[in-house]
Each structure stands twice: as C-alpha cells, then as structure tokens.
C-alpha cells in the first residue's frame, strides 16, 4: 500500500451484517410492500378486504348454521325456524347416491376396494421410486377392477386377457417373416380371439366353474363412481391412442398421416356433447341391426377418442421438441422404428409433454359431467334426481357445494401432482 497513490485503498476491518432500518423490517415493511405500496395498491387492498368481508358476512352465518340431521328440506326449515342456514342433511341423507348411484348397498365394498387397488396400481406409475415389479399389478388392474365393479363371470376378464396372449403367440409365430406381418398377426390374433373364441371360452368355463362376484348392471352405476370409471378408463385408454395418433400424424406415410390429421381435427372441431349424442343415439345406426352394447362402454369409447385427439396434439408438441439427432442415433445403433420409439423417443417426448397430458386428463375428468345429457346419472344427474324428489325439492347450494368440492379435490390434486412431476423432472438427469 502506498500513501502516495491517492486512489489506493484497503479496508482494514470487515463490517458485520447490520439490521436493516425499521422500514425494511418486519410487519411494517411487509404491509408497506405487500399491501400499501402506492395508491392503486392500497385501493386494491381495501377493495379485496371488502370482497372478503362481504363473502364472510353473506356466506359465513349460512355455513355456520348448518343442519345435519333432517329427512327433508321441510324438516330442515323447521329446524332452522326462519333463520338462514345450510341444510347439509341432504348430503348426509344421500351421500351414498352421490358417490355410488344405485349400486347395491351391500356391494359398496367393491367400488371402494377397486378404488384402493387403483391407487396401488397407479403408485408405481406415478412415483418412479417404487419397485418396477409393481407395474405387473398395474397391468392386471384393469381386469381386476372390471370384475370388482361389474362382477359376473370371472372367466370373462380372464378370456379378454387371454386375447392379448393370443396376440402375442401369433406375433411370435410369424415375426420371423417380418415384424410388420408380426404386428398385423398380433392385432388379428387378438381380435379374432375376442370376437370368436372369448365368448364361448367364457361360457364354457362358467358352466363348469361358475365363479365370480354377483353381476351389477351398468345402469345401477352413478354418481362419482361413474365419473371416475369413465374418467379413469378414458384417461388410461386415450394415452396410448393419443401416442399412436401423434406418431401417425408425424409419419411420412401420406395416407396414414392424412387420416390421422382429419381424425384429430374433426374431433377437436366439434363439441364433446355432439359426440356423446352420437354415441347414445346414432351408434346403433352404424352397427348391424340388433347389436347393442353397454352405454357406459360407448361413452368410454367416445370420451377416449375425444381425449386422444387432444392428447395427440400434446404429444406431437413433445415429439417436435426432440432433436433430430435422437432419431438418427437410434437408427445408427440399429434400433428399429418401434424399439426406437419405445426406448428412446417416447420416454423423452412424454416427459416433455407431462403438463399438457395432465391438463388433458383434468379436462377429460371434468368433461365426464356431460354424460348427464345422455341420461347417465353422474353427480349432476343425481343432484337433479335428488331435487326432483319431493323431500328435497328446492335444495341447491348444498348439493352443488358437495359436488364442486369433490371435483375440486380430484382436479386440484392432479394439477399439483403435475407440478410436482415437472419440478422433479427438471432436476432429474441434470
């Protein structure tokens, strides 16, 4: 250090942290920065406080003054005796209908067990930390779930399952000729089994060994049970279909591509409700006379097609975000198209598309409410039915609050999960 040089300077002692001045500290600062920085902000604060106050004043007493025990709205009113109050007794009286529809009461354990098993089956898909072996159960769950919910012959789901085995055998047999022929054989094998052999197989085994839970008809399904059944099947079926459509749309085979484009654009261009009407009113025009199949199944098919078109667009975005080098590297290593898709392309493309996929799922789940228009008794349909009952004629808000709250819980947790996943994938592999 030289004193001759005026600009030279060395600090001898380091300064310690100091407390900020009062204006920078604690509640005052928080208030100043968060609520009252500038007149506009203060105005907004006052306005929002007003809104909150209004809501509390309007809804608070009504909610606080809830009647839980009553058999009809009239009784509720008697209990309330003129004062304003909610009548959640209707939920207590009818919750089982809102949740299960007309599913036989003594069998409620079945949908509940199915739901629990579904969560177990979902766990390894949702959380990568869990052992991969659990995926085996996930693959079996659709059949278990089906049997739990509908019951009937246990051989039926098993014979459907065998269809996949048949497809696999067919594939093995001819794959040597060419993988293309193999795929065609697999599809044909599965379909042939389903169409021609599954029925007799089921009937034969059932006559020998009539095992199975009691059969429950589709029209006893209702309430959230139906929303979840349609939602979950739609979600799990639309993902693979969406992937195929996205691949078709990306394909350089002109016919395949244009068929996919037309399909996707058509489905996305018309309201879901018109498709549901088609499923319920027009489908039989397109099928041979006398065929009729379950309305829930038809709705699931339509909802799946609908969601698949949206899914395809989401996944296409993911595919487009992948660098071309990934395809080339897979080619150069000798992987064929499907292996490259399965091992290299899809794992990455799907990861990129997760937010979009989950959004499509949430949309699909919310859209299950539209089935009320074709006469299925989803929660909204049941709320109409409950209100049509003389006991509960005139009740509104309690039912809507209950239905809304349940939907909110489902959808909100899905969107939180997608945020969790996004965050996790962002840090993974980096």
């Amino acid at each position: 250090m030289s004193d001759t040089n005026p600009i030279s300077y060395v600090r001898e002692t380091m300064l310690d942290q100091q407390e900020p001045p009062v204006t920078e500290r604690g509640a005052i600062k928080w208030l100043r920065e968060n609520l009252f920085s500038g007149w506009l902000n203060s105005l907004l604060t006052v306005a929002s406080l007003g809104v909150i106050w209004f809501l509390i004043i309007e809804i608070g007493p009504w909610l606080m003054n809830t009647v839980w025990n009553a058999e009809s709205l009239r009784q509720c009113r008697e209990v309330l005796d003129g004062s304003s109050g909610a009548c959640f007794a209707v939920i207590k009286d009818r919750w089982h209908q809102l949740l299960f529809g007309f599913y036989p009461r003594e069998h409620y354990w079945r949908p509940v067990l199915a739901l629990v098993l579904m969560l177990v089956a979902l766990a390894p898909i949702l959380f990568a930390e869990l052992p991969r072996k659990m995926l085996f159960f996930s693959a079996l769950f659709p059949f278990i779930g089906y049997h739990l919910l509908w019951g009937g012959s246990i051989w039926f789901p098993i014979s459907i399952l065998l269809g996949f085995v048949a497809g696999y055998v067919a594939f093995r047999l001819v794959v040597k000729v060419s993988s293309l022929v193999g795929v065609i054989a697999a599809v044909a094998g599965t379909l042939l089994w389903w169409v021609f052999l599954a029925g007799p197989f089921d009937a034969a085994l059932y006559s020998v060994a009539p095992i199975g839970l009691e059969f429950v008809r589709s029209d006893s399904f209702g309430g959230f049970l139906i929303s979840i059944v349609i939602g979950v099947s739609g979600i799990s079926l639309s993902l693979p279909l969406g992937i195929l459509l996205a691949l078709g749309r990306q394909s350089d085979m002109i016919f395949v591509k244009s068929v996919c484009v037309v399909f996707i654009e058509f489905i996305r261009g018309v309201p879901l409700i018109t498709l549901l009407f088609t499923a319920s009113l027009l489908l039989n025009y397109f099928l041979p006379p006398g065929t009729s199949f379950d309305l829930i199944l038809r709705v699931v098919i339509m909802v799946t097609l609908f969601a698949a078109a949206y899914m395809a667009e989401v996944i296409r975005g993911g595919l487009a975000a992948l660098p071309k080098g990934q395809y080339e590297a897979a080619d150069a290593l000798g992987l064929d198209y499907w292996k490259a898709q399965r091992l290299i392309i899809m794992p990455q493309a799907l990861k990129i598309s997760i937010p979009g996929i989950v959004n499509t799922f949430i949309g699909l789940f919310k859209d299950t409410t539209l089935v009320v228009f074709i006469g299925l008794l989803d929660p909204i349909g049941l709320s109409n039915a409950i209100r049509a009952d003389t006991d509960w004629n005139g009740i509104y808000w309690e039912l809507f609050i209950f239905i809304g709250a349940l939907f909110f819980i489902f959808c909100f947790s899905m969107s939180r999960y997608s945020m969790y996943l996004e965050r996790k994938l962002k840090t993974d592999h980096r």
Binding site: M253, V256, T274
Partner: protein
C-alpha cells in the same frame, strides 16, 4: 491419387427397377404396403359402417335427405336475433340457433378476456391479498367443471332473484336498479334498449333484414376506427419528423364517438326503459336467465384459464426486458406499451384464441339451462320433430367444425405473422 476437375451435374435421380418382394422388405416400398393395408382396412371399416347404416335406414323406412330443412318448424324460439316465428322453416330455426350460439360465444369471449386479463395481471401484483384472491378465483374455477358452474349460475338466477310479481303492488318487495332502468328478475335481466324516433326501415338482404339505422351506426363505428388509425398514423409521422408526438386522445375520442353522437341525435335516439306490464316486464332488452347463466358460467370459467395464459405470457417476458427498458430511460408506461405488451401478446394470443374455440364449443352446453342455441334448435327440437337424427347431427357437426376450423385458421395466420425471427 486422383483428382477430378470437371464438375458434372445431373438434374434428376434415376429410377430403380421394382421387384415384388420389395413390398415387404424394402424400406421404400414397405411404407406403400403398410399404407395399402391400412387404407384397405379403413375402407373396409367405413364400407361396413355405411352398409349397416343403409340397411338400418331401409329397415326403418327412412331415407337420407335434407329436405326437412325447408319444412315449417312449428316451434317457437324465445331469443330471436332475426325475424322468426313458428311458421318459418327448420332451416331458419337453425340459423336463429346459430346466431344465438354466436351471440353467446362473443359475449362469453369478451367476459373471459376482460376477467382473464384483470385476474392474470392482478395475480402477479405484489399486493398479497389481491394476488391470493385471484389465485383462489383461478383455482376454484379451473378445477370445477364448467357445467357445474353453468347450473349454479342458472340456479342463482331462478332461485335467488325476485319474480316479476315482486315488483308489483303498493309495497313491492323488489325494486329496479339504476334509476328504474334495470330489473333483475328470476326470468332474466331487463335493461333499457336504444330506440330511434326516425326509423329508416330495414334493408332486405334475403335471409336477414337488418335495420338501416343500426347499419349506419355500424358504418359509423368502423369509419371511426379507420379514422382513428389515420390519426395515429399521422401522429407517428409527425413524431418521426420532429421527434415530438402530438397529443391525439381528444381527436381519437372525437372521431370514435362524434359520428355516433351525431347519428344518434339525427335519428332521435332515446332509451326505452323496461316496464312491468301484465305478467312480465315489457320493452327494453330482455337478457334471459339461460343467456345470463351461460354467459357467466362460460365467461368466468374460461376467464380463469385466460388468466393463467396472461400470467404465463407476462412471466415469459424476462425481467431483463423491463430492466433494459428502464436503463434506457423509458418510463414504466412506455416500457409497458413499447416493450412488454408487444412481446407478451405474441405469447398470450394463440392460447387465448384456443380458449375462444373452447368457449364456442362449450356453448353447446346451453342444453343445461334451456338456451336456444344451434344444438337446441337444429340438434334438438328439429331432430326430434322430424326424426332426422343422422342428417341433423351431421349438419350440426359440420357447422361446428367449420366455425372451429375458421377460428384456428385465423390463429395460424396470426401466429405466422408475429413469429419471432430466429437464427
């Protein structure tokens, strides 16, 4: 060692001979095979469906024809943007329905945009309470089906509003708002209508006959917008030349509203107030419950999605842009107008338009509250009265499809226009 100096060019690749086994094993021809198989299966499937349909129709003794569109409809429609009565044709009824769909869609888009922009911006505000409140709004509406909201708004309208009879009598239990000009009843909201003392009649244009007064008003509005554009352009020219931008707001106001005021005065425009007469309010404009419920349900629900788009659009513009603008000395207002908005709009508008598309498709939920849209007229009563479900559904789907493709086509044009230039 070799070296070539002549650079030969051929212009077209030669063709190679084709062998039959190539169909399966050759990279180039295999795709042809796949497509032929695919197409064959597809054709077979379609043929099967068509064949079934034909034989099913024959069994029912029905044909496939759109002649029903010119048969008298027989039913009434409560909301009629164009002249309609029950003696007119099903085609006309479908047109009325389509217009009702359009009215609802436009109203809901406007509401969703306004709410979405406000909520999206406020959600980013550093005002803690407001931000929380907006978060609650967005999450609450995004996570509950729109149909539930529509029904709730429908219920609010019918259950919580006073019947017109409550406005009657010496001591009415309900009263009108805004100086007796707006009545909110359980049959809808009645607001004042604008009437012209000098009515210039209508302009017969085939299917529709718009009022000449309103056409002139429309012309005045469009003219005003063009004039305003010219004023702004002139202001820019002046600014370019001198550096100083002339104040234009009063000129803009004048050209935007001046002609309107003149026209209104010329035509003797006055407000026609709703008035309780007989069973109902008469005069004024009647916004029916169904319209209000659909409008609020769709508008507020979609507004929550728009809010998210707006928020992410603004967040997509990095803080660096604002800082750079500030560092250059641009004031916050100009920073917003010249730097942030032009960039944010590019991000916001495409998802905004797909929300508009969703709204348009969701208008078909009008069924839930009895709104007479395209689905209720053509896709509902007409199908039911004529038994033409195949034709009716097909026509309805095609109309929705055309509208959707139109909207998304416009979106693509916009996207291409504003795409950022990159390396």
């Amino acid at each position: 060692m070799s070296s070539t100096s002549d650079l030969r060019t051929q212009t077209a690749p030669p063709k190679t001979a084709f062998r039959f086994s190539m169909l399966l094993y050759d990279q180039r021809y295999r795709s042809v095979t796949i497509q032929i198989v695919f197409l064959f299966v597809l054709m077979l499937g379609i043929a099967w469906l068509v064949d079934n349909t034909i034989s099913n129709l024959r069994a029912l003794g029905k044909d496939f024809s759109f002649a029903f569109l010119s048969a008298p409809a027989g039913y009434d429609i409560n909301q009629r943007p164009i002249e309609y009565n029950s003696q007119m044709t099903h085609g006309r009824a479908a047109l009325v329905g389509l217009l009702n769909t359009a009215i609802l869609a436009v109203m809901a888009c406007a509401l969703a945009t306004v709410l979405g922009v406000i909520a999206g911006v406020l959600r980013l505000s550093n005002n803690w309470i407001v931000a929380r409140l907006m978060t609650i709004y967005v999450e609450l509406f995004r996570n509950i089906p729109t149909l539930v909201w529509i029904i709730i708004f429908g219920a609010i309208m019918t259950e919580s509003m006073p019947a017109p009879s409550a406005f009657r009598g010496d001591t009415p239990s309900a009263s009108m708002f805004l100086n007796d000009s707006v009545a909110i009843t359980n049959r809808g909201v009645y607001i004042p209508a604008i009437q012209f003392a000098t009515d210039l009649g209508t302009l017969p244009l085939g299917v529709v006959a718009p009022s000449i007064n309103w056409l002139l008003v429309l012309v005045a509005i469009i003219g005003g917008i063009y004039a305003n554009k010219a004023i702004l352009k002139h202001a820019t020219a002046v600014q370019n030349a001198t550096g100083l931008r002339p104040k234009t707001w009063w000129k803009s106001l004048a050209v935007l509203f001046g002609p309107l005021v003149v026209l209104f005065v010329l035509f003797g425009a006055h407000l026609e107030y709703p008035e309780l007469r007989g069973f109902n309010f008469a005069d004024g404009v009647h916004l029916r419950n169904s319209l209000i419920a659909m409008w609020l349900g769709l508008g507020i629900y979609t507004g929550a999605f728009v809010a998210e788009n707006v928020r992410s659009g603004i967040l997509a513009i990095s803080r660096g842009q604002t800082e750079a603008a500030f560092a250059l000395g641009l004031q916050p207002g100009k920073t917003m107008r010249l730097v942030i908005l032009p960039q944010a709009l590019r991000v916001i508008i495409p998802p905004l338009i797909s929300q508009y598309l969703n709204i348009t498709k969701n208008t078909s939920l009008g069924l839930a509250v009895g709104y007479m849209d395209l689905r209720s007229t053509l896709g509902g009563i007409t199908i039911n009265q004529t038994g033409r479900e195949l034709e009716g559904m097909l026509l309805m789907m095609l109309i929705y499809l055309a509208v959707s493709l139109g909207i998304s086509g416009a979106m693509n044009v916009y996207n291409n226009r504003v795409k950022l230039k990159e390396r």
